[in-house]
Symmetry: C2
Subunit: 438 residues, 2 copies
């Protein structure tokens, strides 16, 4: 049977600031080495791993609008995406993905579906286990089959699943929310397993639950009324009311990539990007996305992360408490991936902003104008075409294009195109944008 | 008697990287708080302190060509500068400054001159001591009067002066080079003093020694043949051959600002620039010149310094071993102060470089051209005039000026003027510059 996988590609991931932010989630950070000088992101890694175990797998990424560009940039145009118009917690998200599989991808209600988060750091055996989970969900009497991860230490960070016995597959006796370490130790003695948020079911089962709880006809209808749905988690809406639940043990490598501490454990080298670590450094990791070097001397158990958004220097254990500090930072977005490429803010002044725009070959911006700012493009690399006030011209490195406020414009890349854009105006804002038909 | 002070403004100061580099020395970093949001540099602080103790003091800064712009930017146009055409160690530098005082400033050979480095962190009592040193040099039979700093700990970083007795003013018995800590402890028991490189003499004395060792007529002649002079220190050329040397004790506050460790001791706040320090940080200092925040968590005894050149994260004690690491960094200069203002590199690509140019009101660049690159200026703030291929025009925010390779150009600021300059060419280099008469 075909493997249907729904990857939950979650929220803004402030816990990996400054590499993740409101527009750029941790799953898109290229941090895992594939070969000398080449890195892949969490989402690229998991997608590659799924396909290497099963090329026919039907992968659907359940995500928000804001991540669609980044997913296409990193995985190409062919990946299935179930786009949440807004955030409504995991039950609506999974319901939408299931409706998408049923109505758009024509998956039968009898077929099993595996749901898993995009962010654990795992090896091939994990994906083989997903296959087993899927097969079990199809054949089992149970309505839900969970993956239970064998704990490696008494963690206070995870929920626990208490199975009825220690067989490979067992009925679930109880769920326990994040315990303290002593309690976690007791759970471990009883054979408890971590709940990593991985589970499988027959598509029809969740579709039925969705229709019970939400009044909708099909995927398109659910999509349209998504904004009106109540926020509710899948655990609360489904799992807590279900008695026919099994758990399947998984004893392979599984690392949660939620914090800098755990993320650096998965790094093959002590640094990515320009970094110099003195001999007096011990257990130090550097992730540097800037063009200038980071020099570390005499540090122990420290992570340094530098991006256009800011610089983090933290004791590794302390790094898990980052969120409230990042919440306080009210910072202009300095870097964003777009469907057509990316941009980076390189200078901010009162009355002006300068950005570097990179367009991928064959891509272009929408035709748009701004009310309250003039813009100047200087092409620094590549070839493309501009359309300004209805007039198209070819452009190449050295060409300069001026656009007064109100004049519609766009640029399209024939090769990889890099442009320095200077924005001049008193009230520069991303919301000052009017779309035009071209 | 008038106080003549020669401030030795030394070399490139890599030990305070990334805030100092080949073109920007530590003495120009604005790191000392004067009031909320306002900071001054070492050279600004020492200059202000001298004038606040004695408004009539004749201050001459002995420095290299490369620092002249920065000195004028920070101290204005009226400060005396003795410019070394190239670096030739301290004896030629002091000889040149003395000739400058004699021939340009018309200081009499009988007048005392005080020489001191620009970089110690001191209070008013130090400058009062310089006065006493100057008066003593004028009146004393001794040819040299040194300041001896009362040691606060047995440092292995400084040279020691052993006086004949513990009077305020004593003959010097011996000089001792940097000892180990145990030896330093022995010296301290004998009343030894640190040699901070501060001394006074009658101008005629050093001028005579200079004429004995160097064949020159006057200041202009010495300046012209400066490049041919042998590198030799003042200690080696003068002090070691002189028997009539006195030392005057100084018991006030004196901190050497040579390393990040000592520099941060002089900082009034734990951070300068955008920085967030968690409660779990202990003895952490941040100096951040970037526009984005630095977040520190769970660190102890660490200094973080971030500038357009790079990022340092170091244990404070370890920071004194920085030099060999910085020597290895082969980095494009990212920021420089110029006579007309400053520039900052904001983007580097193969085939292009983008810089932000800030011109001070009333200043302008030289008229020049480049052989191997086109340039585009986009004015983002202020008003000024450009001269391109002989044609002058007024420019203001939003104006764009294009200069093809070979075309002479300059820009002059009527108000503070900020320009984004995009350079496009295959072989961009600071040496690709031809000066024109205008």
């Amino acid at each position: 049977m075909r493997l249907n996988i729904v990857l939950l590609s979650g929220g803004s991931g402030k816990r990996l600031w400054p590499l993740s932010n409101d527009t750029r989630s941790k799953q898109f950070i290229k941090i895992f080495k594939i070969m000398a000088g080449e890195y892949e992101s969490m989402v690229q890694r998991v997608y590659r791993q799924i396909l290497s175990v099963d090329q026919t797998a039907e992968v659907t990424i359940a995500t928000s609008k804001s991540q669609v560009s980044a997913i296409h940039n990193q995985l190409g145009q062919n990946v299935g995406i179930s786009v949440e118009p807004c955030r409504r917690d995991t039950f609506p998200a999974i319901a939408l993905a299931v409706a998408y599989l049923h109505d758009v991808k024509k998956v039968s209600p009898k077929e099993p579906v595996v749901v898993c988060p995009v962010d654990p750091y795992v090896e091939q055996d994990y994906f083989k286990a997903l296959h087993k989970l899927s097969n079990r969900a199809e054949a089992s009497e149970a309505n839900l089959v969970l993956m239970g991860i064998e704990p490696t230490y008494p963690s206070a960070k995870y929920g626990y699943i208490i199975p009825e016995n220690t067989d490979d597959i067992s009925k679930v006796s109880m769920f326990k929310e994040k315990p303290d370490e002593d309690t976690a130790r007791e759970y471990m003695k009883k054979g408890a397993l971590w709940n990593g948020g991985v589970f499988a079911f027959r598509l029809g089962y969740v579709l039925e639950r969705a229709h019970e709880l939400i009044d909708f006809t099909d995927y398109q209808d659910l999509y349209t009324k998504y904004e009106t749905l109540t926020k509710i988690s899948f655990d609360y809406a489904v799992v807590e009311h279900e008695t026919m639940i099994e758990v399947m043990r998984f004893g392979g490598m599984w690392k949660d990539m939620g914090t800098w501490n755990t993320l650096t454990e998965a790094m093959e080298n002590e640094s990515i990007g320009k970094a110099i670590l003195s001999d007096t450094c011990d257990n130090v990791h550097v992730v540097n996305e800037l063009d200038v070097p980071v020099l570390c001397m005499g540090l122990k158990d420290v992570v340094v992360a530098a991006s256009p958004e800011g610089i983090l220097v933290s004791d590794k254990m302390q790094s898990s408490y980052i969120k409230p500090y990042v919440d306080e930072i009210d910072q202009q977005i300095m870097f964003a991936e777009k469907s057509w490429g990316s941009f980076r803010v390189i200078d901010i002044e009162e009355g002006s902003m300068t950005i570097k725009v990179t367009l991928n070959p064959g891509h272009g911006m929408n035709y748009h104008s701004h009310e309250r700012r003039d813009e100047v493009w200087t092409v620094v690399e590549g070839e493309g075409r501009t359309l300004v006030d209805g007039v198209e011209r070819k452009v190449t490195a050295g060409d300069v294009i001026r656009m007064a406020a109100g004049v519609p414009h766009k640029i399209m890349a024939d090769t990889l195109l890099q442009v320095i854009e200077v924005q001049i105006g008193e009230d520069i804002s991303v919301s000052d944008k009017k779309k035009w038909n071209h």
